[in-house]
Amino acid sequence: MADGKGFTCLMVILILGNIFGAAAGLALCALAIWVAVDQFKLYPISGVSGKDDIFAGAWIAIFTGFAFFCMCVFGILAAAKKSRALMLTYLILMLIIYIFECASCITAVTHRDYLVGNSNLVKKQMLKYYAADGDSGSRITLTWNKVMKEVECCGTDGPVDWIEYNSTFREKFGTDYPWPTHCCKRKNNYEVVNVEACKNGQNTTMFTKGCFNHIVSVFSRYTWAISWYGFAVLMFMFWLLILAMVYYLML
C-alpha cells in the first residue's frame, strides 16, 4: 500500500499536524515559564505546606513543551523521508514525552485542590507561621504582608480570623493589637492612618475583606495554564500519534 493517494494525503496531514504540534509545544513551554516565574510571588504559601506541585508541574511542562517542539520537527523529517526506523523512533519518544506531560497536568490540578479547595489550609498556615521564627515563618510573613498591602485585605476570610483563633502572632505580641498593622489603611508615606481606630476595628480605617479570594484566583490561574492547556495539547497529540501509527503501518 506504499504509494497511493491516501498515503500521500496522510503524509501531508501528518506534516501539517506536526507543524501545529511544534507551535503548541513551544507555547506550552512559554506558558510554563510564566507560571514558574510566579509574578504574584505566592510560592511560599504552597512551598511551606509541601503542596507545591503546581510549580513542579510547571517545570516539567517547560521541558516537555520544548521536547514536543523538537520531536514534532523530527516528525516532519521522518514523515517526509518515509523511513520506518525514523517513524518508530518518533513514536516511542513521543509516547515517553506524552506520559511525562500527563503527569504534570494531573499533579498540578490535584495539588491545587489541596491548597485552595477551601480556606482551611491557608488559614491554618497563616495562623501558625505569620510572625513565627525560622525560615518558613519569615517567608510566610513577608508573603502575607505583601498580599495584605497590595490587595488591601486582612486575614484569610476576614480580620475575624485573627481574633477567632490563637496564633503565633497573638502569642508573640499579645492582644493589644488584635490583627497585624498591615491590615490598617496607610497614607502614601506608609504611615498608618489611625492606629487606635484600626485596633478597634473601624471599617473606614482598615481592610475588611479576606485575602483568600485573591490567593484562589492566582493559584487557579497558574493551574489552568499548566493543566488545562497541557490537556488540550495532549488531546491534539493523541490523535497525531494515532495517525502516525497508521502511517507507520502503511510504510
Binding site: R84, L88, L91, I92, L95, Y98, I99, C102, C105, I106, V109, T110, R112, D113, Y114, G117, N118, N120, L121, K123, K124, Q125, L127, K128, G158, P159, V160, I163, E164, Y165, N166, S167, R170, T175, P178, N194, A197, N200, G201, Q202, N203, T204, M206, T208, S227, W228, F231, L234, M235, F238, L241, I242, M245, Y248, L249
Partner: protein, 248 residues
C-alpha cells in the same frame, strides 16, 4: 421616649413647632433642650430669652417655640427646619437600649476576646454621668468602672473642609476570654436593658482540619481522560510494533 411630631411648619418664620404629648408631671428646674441635625449634636442651655418664649398651658400638651430671628441662639442659621428632641421626664419604666456594635455600625465586630464594644446611651441623656454595671455570670464579680471618657470609640472624619467627630461606642476592656457578661447602663434614675453577651472563645488553630476538602470536577476529568488516553496509546503502540514485526 415618646414620639414627637411637627405640629405645623410656618414658612414665614423659620421655625417648627413640635408637640410632645404626655401625661407625666412637668419637671421642675432648668431644662435642657437638645437637637441634632445629621450627625452633629447641638446643646442649648436655656437662658432668660428662652423662658420668655415658652408658653406653658397646664394640663395640655405644650408648645415650644423658639423664634429664629433671635438669631444669636442659632449659630447655624442656614437651616430651615429644627427638630427638637424631647425633654427628660421620669416614668418609672423608662428604658433605653444598649446593644453590641455590629458591622452596620462601622466596626468589624463588637465581640473581641477580651473586650466588648457597646452602643452609647441615646443623645437625650448627654452631659449626664453614666455608670456601666457589668458582672461576669460565671464568677459573679461586679465591676463599676468610674472612668468613662477614655474608652469611648470615636471616629474623626476630615474631608478637608471641616472635621466631624462621632462617638461610635464604648469599649469595655479587661474582660476574660470566653465568659458571659451582663451589662447595664445606669443614668441617674434611668436604666438600660440588661445585655447578656459573651466574649469570644479563642480556638486552637491546630484544630482546623486542613486535609483535602474535596476533589474538584476539573481534577477528575483531567485525570480520567489522560489516564485512558495514555493507556490507549501504549496498547496501540505495542500492537503496531508487533504487527509490523509479525508482518515482515
Amino acid at each position: 421616649m415618646h414620639p414627637l411630631w411637627i405640629l405645623q411648619q410656618s414658612t414665614s418664620v423659620k421655625d417648627s413647632f413640635v408637640s410632645t404629648p404626655w401625661a407625666g408631671p412637668w419637671l421642675s428646674g432648668p431644662q435642657e433642650l437638645t437637637w441634632s441635625e445629621n450627625q452633629t449634636r447641638q446643646h442649648l442651655v436655656p437662658d432668660s430669652r428662652m423662658s420668655r418664649s415658652i408658653l406653658v398651658i397646664p394640663a395640655l400638651p405644650f408648645h415650644i417655640m423658639l423664634r429664629s430671628h433671635e438669631s444669636h441662639l442659632f449659630s447655624t442659621a442656614m437651616r430651615t427646619m429644627f427638630i427638637f428632641f424631647g425633654m427628660l421626664f421620669t416614668l418609672s419604666n423608662a428604658e433605653f437600649q444598649v446593644s453590641l456594635l455590629k458591622e452596620s455600625d462601622g466596626v468589624v465586630t463588637g465581640r473581641f476576646a477580651d473586650s466588648l464594644l457597646l452602643s452609647l446611651p441615646p443623645c437625650a441623656l448627654a452631659t449626664q454621668s453614666v455608670t456601666l454595671e457589668y458582672n461576669n455570670t460565671d464568677t459573679n464579680e461586679s465591676m463599676l468602672p468610674c472612668r468613662f471618657r477614655r474608652d469611648i470609640i470615636s471616629t474623626i472624619e476630615n474631608n478637608g473642609q471641616f472635621t466631624t467627630s462621632r462617638n461610635l461606642g464604648y469599649q469595655v476592656t479587661n474582660l476574660t476570654t470566653g465568659s458571659t457578661y451582663r451589662l447595664q447602663y445606669v443614668v441617674g434614675a434611668e436604666k438600660s436593658n440588661i445585655l447578656e453577651v459573651s466574649t469570644r472563645q479563642v480556638k486552637d488553630p491546630n484544630q482546623i482540619d486542613s486535609g483535602l476538602p474535596a476533589r474538584s470536577g476539573a481534577m477528575v476529568v483531567i485525570t480520567v481522560i489522560l489516564s485512558v488516553s495514555m493507556f490507549i496509546l501504549l496498547v496501540a503502540l505495542i500492537v503496531t510494533v508487533a504487527h509490523s514485526l509479525g508482518g515482515d
